[in-house]
C-alpha cells in the first residue's frame, strides 16, 4: 500500500538529514520525498510517498511525530487531496518526429521548453499515473534524460487551512492540553 504523508517541519539546518536518517535507520521504504518552504518561511513541508503495511505506515507517522523539529504529520490516505509531480525530460526527436512529439505533449498539457537539433526538452506536471503514461509514450522516441521532483500534495478540504504552523509557534511547549 502506498501512502502520501505530509509533514510540516521547523525550517532549520539538518532537519532533512534527521528525517531521512530516521526513515533509513528504521528500514522504511520511501518512494519519493519532496521538500520546500511553506507560506511561513519558518516552516517547510515535506511530502513523502511511503509504501508498507498499515502497521508500518502507522509507525512511520508516529516516528516522524516523535522528532522534535516535526510540527505535524498528516497521512493523506482515505482523504481528498490534490497531488502533483513535475518532470523535465529530454526526448530524442529529429525534425521529422518533432511534430508527433509536440502533439503528444499538447494532449498531456505539457510544454516544450527547449529545442535542439536532435532532441527537445519537455516540462510536464500532473498526477503520477499521468506522468507514467507519458513516459511510456515517449519511450519509443528515446528518452535521453529525465528528472522528477517527487510528489507534492495538499488536502482539498478547509480543515487544514488554519495556519497550523503559525499556531504551533505560539504555543507553550510546557502547557498541558
Amino acid at each position: 500500500m502506498k501512502h502520501v504523508i505530509s509533514a510540516v517541519v521547523v525550517n532549520q539546518p539538518g532537519v532533512l538529514a534527521q528525517i531521512s536518517g530516521m526513515l533509513a535507520s528504521r528500514a522504511y521504504n520511501i518512494d519519493s520525498l519532496a521538500v520546500g518552504e511553506t507560506e511561513n518561511p519558518e516552516f517547510s513541508r515535506i511530502t513523502f510517498v511511503v509504501s508498507g503495511t498499515d502497521r508500518t505506515l502507522d509507525q512511520v507517522r508516529k516516528q516522524l511525530e516523535k522528532l522534535i523539529p516535526v510540527v505535524r504529520v498528516v497521512d493523506f490516505a482515505n482523504r481528498e487531496f490534490v497531488e502533483r509531480d513535475l518532470m523535465l525530460m529530454k526526448v530524442s526527436a529529429c525534425a521529422v518526429k518533432r511534430a508527433e512529439v509536440k502533439e503528444l505533449v499538447e494532449i498531456f498539457r505539457g510544454n516544450i521548453v527547449d529545442v535542439a537539433s536532435n532532441h527537445v526538452m519537455i516540462e510536464i506536471s500532473g498526477k503520477e499515473q499521468k506522468l507514467e503514461a507519458f513516459i511510456d509514450l515517449m519511450r519509443p522516441f528515446g528518452i535521453l534524460e529525465m528528472v522528477r521532483t517527487g510528489r507534492i500534495a495538499l488536502l482539498r478540504s478547509n480543515e487544514e487551512n488554519v495556519d497550523i504552523a503559525e499556531r504551533a509557534a505560539h504555543e507553550d511547549p510546557t502547557a498541558a492540553a
Binding site: 522534535i68 505535524r72 510546557t174
Partner: protein, 592 residues
Amino acid sequence: MTGADILVEALIRNGGKYMFAYPGGASMPLHQALLKRGDQLRTILPRHEQGGGFAAQGVSRSTDGIGMCMATSGPGATNLVTALADAKMDSIPIVAVTGQVSQAVIGTDAFQETPIIEISRAITKHSFMITANDHTDPDSVREALLSIPRIVKEAFFIAKSGRPGPVLIDFPKNIQTASIEVDDIDWDPAMKLPGYRPLHRKPIPEQIKQSLAAIRRSKRPILYVGGGVINANAAEELTAFAKKSNIPVTMTVMGLGAFPGDDPQSLHFLGMHGTAYSNYAINEADLLLAFGVRFDDRVTGKLDEFAMHGKIIHVDIDASEIHKNKEAHIPVVADVKDFLVALNEAFTEEDKPDTADWWKQINEWRAKYPMSYNQSDDWIYQQYAVDEFWRQTKDQDTYVAVGVGQHQMWAAQFYKFRKARRWLSSSGLGTMGFGLPAAMGVAAANPGKLVVDIDGDGSLLMNIQELATLHCEKLPVKILLLNNQHLGMVVQWEDRFMEGRRAHTYLGPIDHPEALGHGDGTIGDTYPNFVEIARGFGLEAAQVREKKDYPAALNKMLTSKGPYLLDVICPYQEHVLPMIPGGKTVRDMILK
C-alpha cells in the same frame, strides 16, 4: 560574560549539579567557566569520556535530576557516542556538551573536527549546535550568545519530558570565547519548540472506565511493568494499585524496583532469564496491564506466541510504542503516573478481580520452579555471591550498578530491589563496561549511600581506568567482581548452542589450555591481577576464593570507608537459568 560562562550559568539555573567532563582543545574555555562555578556545580574528571557519559547516566538513573557530561571535539565527542546510544535505548535523560572547532574551520577537516551532531543524530533524542548564522558578523555572534539560555532550557526540558532521552549540545569554540554584557541576557526565555508537545496527552476517563471493566472481568490478570514506571516516578502509585487489586506483578529488567522485589506479590522479572513462574504466568494471563514497557524481544521471545491469551492494556507516554510489537486492546498514550493516579482514584472494591485460583496456580509454579542454585560444594557460585550480598545489605539503602553478561542477570535474579532508582543496568543497548562508571555517578549524586558495582571480569576491564576517578575524586564505590576468567554469557551460548567450542571467550593468555577449552575446569592463577591493579590505582582490594571466606570478605568491603575491589573467583561452568532462547517461547524454556 563569555559564551562558555553563559552556558555553565544556564546549566546551573536549569538544575545541573554534576558534570563529568574531560577537557581538550575545543572545550578548555568551558572548563575555565566550570572552574569559576565549582561552588554550585561539581565537575568530576573521568578518565575516559565514555566513563563520563555513563557516570552522567548514574546521576540520572539514581535521582530525579539530570546528569551531565562534557567532552572536547573530535575523539572526545566520538568517545561519548556509546553512552548516548545507551541512554537513548533505556530512555535516560542526560545532557551532553561537546566542544567543537571554531565556525571558521568547520567543514575543513580541521584538527579534532568531527560532525558529532550528524554522527549522533539517530542515538540522541535531540541535538543543538550553538552557532552564529554569520560568524564574521558581530551582531550575528551576539544573537548566538543570547540564544544559549534558551537552548539549554530546551535541552533540559526535552531530555526529561515525555519519553526521556539524551540531548547533545555541540558548542563551537568561537562562540564559547565571544562575549556580551551580562545585563543583556534573558536567563529564562520562552522555549521555541513548535513541534514538541510532550505534556498534551492525558488519560481520558473512558480509558480508565474500559480498563476497570477489563480488570473486573479478568480471571488471570498480571501487571507487566517497566522502566516507564521508574522514569515517571510512579513506583508508589503502582505499588498502591497492585496492593489494592492483588494482581501479581512482574517487572522488566528496566522496571526492577518499581514494586518491592521481596514482596510475595512480586513474581520478579520476566523474559529470557526471568523467573520461570513469571514467564508461565504471563503466558497464561488473560489480561496484561502493560505499564511503561515496550514488548522488547528479550521479554517476549517469539512475538506471535507471547501472552497469546491475554488482552492488553498498554500505557506508554510514547505513542510509537503502542501497537509497535504487540497490538493493544486498550491503548493509552499517557504518563503512566497520571494513569495510575486516575486508576487508583476510580478503583473500588467491586473492581477487584477474583484471583484466588490464579494465585493458587502461580504459587504452584513458584513452588515447583523456584529460583535456586547449587549450594553443595565449596565454589563461590555467582548466584550465592549475589544472594549473600543481598542478605548483608537488604536493610541498608543500597544502590547496585552492573556491567553486562551473566553477572548482570544473576544480580537481577538474586538481588531484590525494594525501591525505584536503586538498580542501574544497561538493558537495551547491553553495554559492557557500564557498571563502574555508572556507580561512580551514583556515588557522586548520593553521598553517604552504599554504592556497589557488581561486575564481571570482562566488563570491568572495559572501563577499568575509572578506578582512578574513584580514588582521585573520593567516590567510595565498592566493586564486587565476579571473576570467572571468561566472557561467561558467550561461553554459556557456546556450551548450549555451539558444542562448547571456545572462540575468543577465555580472558587469559592464548597459550593457556583454557583458551581452547582444554583446561581441567579449575581456576588457578587469574589474569589480570585485579587486586594489584586496584591497589595501583589507590583502592583497597582483596581476593577471595573459598566460600567459607566470602561472607567476611564481603562484609569487610561493605564496611570499608573508601573505594574497594573484592575479586571473587567463581566457576565459569555455571549457566544463567532459566533461559528462553532468543525467538523461542515459554515451552522452550531451559530450566536445567
